[in-house]
Subunit: 472 residues, 2 copies
């Protein structure tokens, strides 16, 4: 059973109660006629059926990644208006108001998927659907963090994670990273010695750590099994809640030894809040994610959902359910993830790396080969620039960025992912405003979106830009 | 132009900045190749086309409200995977990450609809999409209210509106209502004399008022034109932001003189935040609403969306856009609202009222005829009970509720909608826990969901329950 984490709840989280209106549902049985809940009648919905042509995941045709519609590689998924024989809710049921957990069929599919993939080690874990990982994350933060508190984060991280919490008055404390993501040693050091640094004297010890363990954004790093164990041991020792944001989990390139174990799979206490999403495996526009965590936390987020987002779109839910439950099944979805999603990103990653090696001078820029995700994290070796030491790193990087723009290639300035304190005159709306020294030497490139030809072009242009700047 | 309401922003609202990542978009022109944003490539989305059978709104067949699928009354809406000739985004574009405003075609349709219906009187108003009205409301509150502040509300209101804000430490102040909703006189009195009551001495004067002006939940009341003018005058005099939550606007029963003017239509300052939703006109499961307000507020909520919900589901957006923009058009949608939605609820309302009159002793229970919405608000005349005065109102109402349950009819206890302070031992999860005196004498019935036969049955059972309790 999960430990009792009630004392970890924020003032908001502790007050997220069930609505009395929902309490009336228990009277709905037998011959009861309700004039209770203010639901519109489904006969008024002007949608009679929903269908989509989807990718077929039959083993023989899965490897066609052309993305083209072809009768040989697609199936027709249809959701009728009224009751249907299968396990999936009808269109009219999915388009009605529902519980803040999401619809039953899709929620159960996700729970069974989590069970098969991660085998949680405690009993009372549960799953509920959200409107995507940023929605999940914002609700986890609301449940756990009061204004004035701070969470632990990787020193480079997903910018929206900080942009979400900063206006809430929830701060962040960067933890040093290495090629395997957040350093467990650094995390332990920081917590073991909490309060000894002058700026920590008045601050409460952090109780929440946010990590992206697989194909980390922006560094592309993936925690080894040992690193995961070490992080979980520190979390247990210092009694931390762990938010495991894992959108790139299925974008692992080498699964010869199986998928890497998640932090959730190592959690014996119910202290991990695992965030999964269909955004990277199916499409961002699904706006469906799911949270796996202890049942108490699930209830609180459900209550929060029921007064804000309610649940994901009924069109999204019923279509995903029909596809996953009735057409693909767990086995088909797993095959799709392994043979399609994973392979697609593996090929893309290899291609961008090959282009880099062909066109970029490896004395001037390097990266650590990613084993998962969408990104390579390019370090610029400014020490080889003729003006290094006389011109600031920041000025040199700005020259490089401008040269790239001039040569029509866009990479993301590394400072945008930095968790270190920003200068006082920092303007977040100015993409060139943050080339501050010490954090200035990285660029992030993604292989997720561009075509193979575009990646080649981009690396040619980037290599030329580097050469031009370094020969100046 | 809208006035400057910057000083009305909460600490959170004032800090909701644009993401630097989005700042890079301005470089995307000409021959630029981007390895910037972490978007998955649309060719990886396993959805090739989307279609739905929808209600046809051709004038001759609109009045068929049977809800049955028939080739004579339905159209097939199809959204292809790739670029299409019409104005609506392709499926692959809608399933990609996008801006926190929602997709262009649907947003513009909504804006034009607002323009035609409400003719805002100032220039720099704008519209953005949300994941439904509760999502819109929660973001308006986040933008405006700090912990410890209070908003003004109708004395009976939508419970989730209070359940949303209470855990945030945002309180509420009930304003007296009459048959036309919130009393402008009471609102003015309260604000004119703010600080004079002992419990107000240390409290900041409220700056936000939340109203449901049309078919109010739970009372069914609708503000007259004069009442709306009066409320807006008080809002202007006392410099209030007005959250106009109007989900039942198109459920007006008498539109011989046109739709009643909205508060937005009377707003010359940009102080109204109008919340519209497709939940009551199309289906709740769309999870699409839209906010109409001054452009500054729109930018802040857009920034908030971009780190939480992002935007509504792409399936919902593209399907609604294709239906509304390419098939129905403004004129077809207006016809649908007028002849279909409005008529459906008018007929339902009339039917429930007729059943009430046939089966319920009008000495024991009465209601004010609603002119919009989904609800009738039934007052129980306990003064006619033989034990009135010797047994508490609360105990009598509990007896009545239990008798209704025993007789298999469910109405909602009025106290669930009360905004007055709750007793200390109040348990929100207990539907019978709140029968406290003074607010105990109402029940809410909805005519939105039950079939006509069920409404008749419900009123027979309710009438019998009343008779049994009052003859005891």
């Amino acid at each position: 059973m999960a430990k009792d984490f009630s004392s970890f709840l924020s003032a908001e989280g502790a007050s997220r109660k069930k609505s009395p209106l929902k309490g009336l549902l228990r009277f709905m049985k037998g011959d009861m006629v309700s004039l209770g809940g203010g639901l519109p009648h489904p006969s008024t919905f002007p949608f009679y059926s929903l269908s989509a042509e989807i990718k077929s995941v039959a083993p023989t045709i899965l490897n066609d990644t052309s993305g083209k519609t072809s009768s040989a590689t697609s199936d027709l998924v249809t959701v009728p208006h009224g009751p249907q024989p299968g396990k999936v809710e009808s269109l009219s049921a999915s388009l009605q108001y529902g519980l803040g957990t999401g619809i039953k069929s899709l929620r159960e599919f996700c729970k069974e998927h989590i069970n098969q993939m991660h085998r949680p080690q405690y009993q009372d874990w549960d799953v509920l659907l959200s409107a995507g990982n940023t929605d999940s994350y914002s609700k986890a933060i609301a449940m756990l963090c009061n204004r004035g508190e701070k969470i632990l984060v990787e020193e480079w991280t997903y910018p929206a994670a900080l942009e979400m919490i900063d206006p809430l008055g929830v701060g962040h404390i960067p933890v040093t990273m290495d090629g395997e993501g957040m350093s467990a040693v650094a995390l332990k050091d920081l917590l073991d010695n909490w309060g000894s640094a002058p700026d920590q004297a008045k601050e409460a010890k952090p109780r929440v750590v946010y990590v992206i363990p697989t194909g980390q954004n922006p560094t592309g790093s993936t925690m080894s099994i040992q690193r995961r164990r070490d992080i979980m041991r520190v979390a247990q020792e210092h009694n931390l809640i762990v938010i495991e944001d894992d959108p790139y989990y299925y974008l692992q390139f080498n699964v010869d030894n199986g998928w890497v174990p998640s932090l959730l799979s190592m959690d014996t206490d119910g202290r991990v809040i695992r965030l999964d999403t269909f955004s990277k495996t199916l499409a961002p526009g699904c706006r469906v994610g799911y949270m796996s965590m202890n049942a108490h936390f699930c209830t609180i987020v459900q209550n929060h959902n029921e007064v804000t987002t309610q649940q994901p779109s009924g069109f999204s839910q019923t279509l995903l359910a029909e596809m996953l439950v009735s057409h693909w099944g767990q086995e088909g979805y797993n095959r799709y993830l392994t043979e399609n999603v994973r392979t697609e990103y593996l090929n893309r990653s290899r291609h961008l790396q090959a282009c880099f090696q062909r066109h970029v001078n490896s004395k001037l820029a390097t990266f650590i080969e990613p084993s998962a995700g969408m990104f390579i994290w390019i370090k610029i070796h400014l020490e080889h620039h003729p003006q290094y030491g006389t011109v600031s790193d920041s000025a040199l990087m700005l020259r490089l960025f401008n040269k790239c723009i001039e040569n029509n290639v866009l990479l993301v300035p590394g400072w945008q992912f930095s968790c270190k304190p920003k200068p006082a005159d920092f303007d977040p709306a100015d993409p060139l405003g943050g080339w501050f020294d010490g954090q200035a030497t990285y660029l992030r490139a993604t292989f997720a979106y561009a075509s193979f030809e575009q990646m080649e072009t981009a690396m040619i242009r980037f290599g030329e830009s580097l050469n031009e700047i370094f020969s100046a």
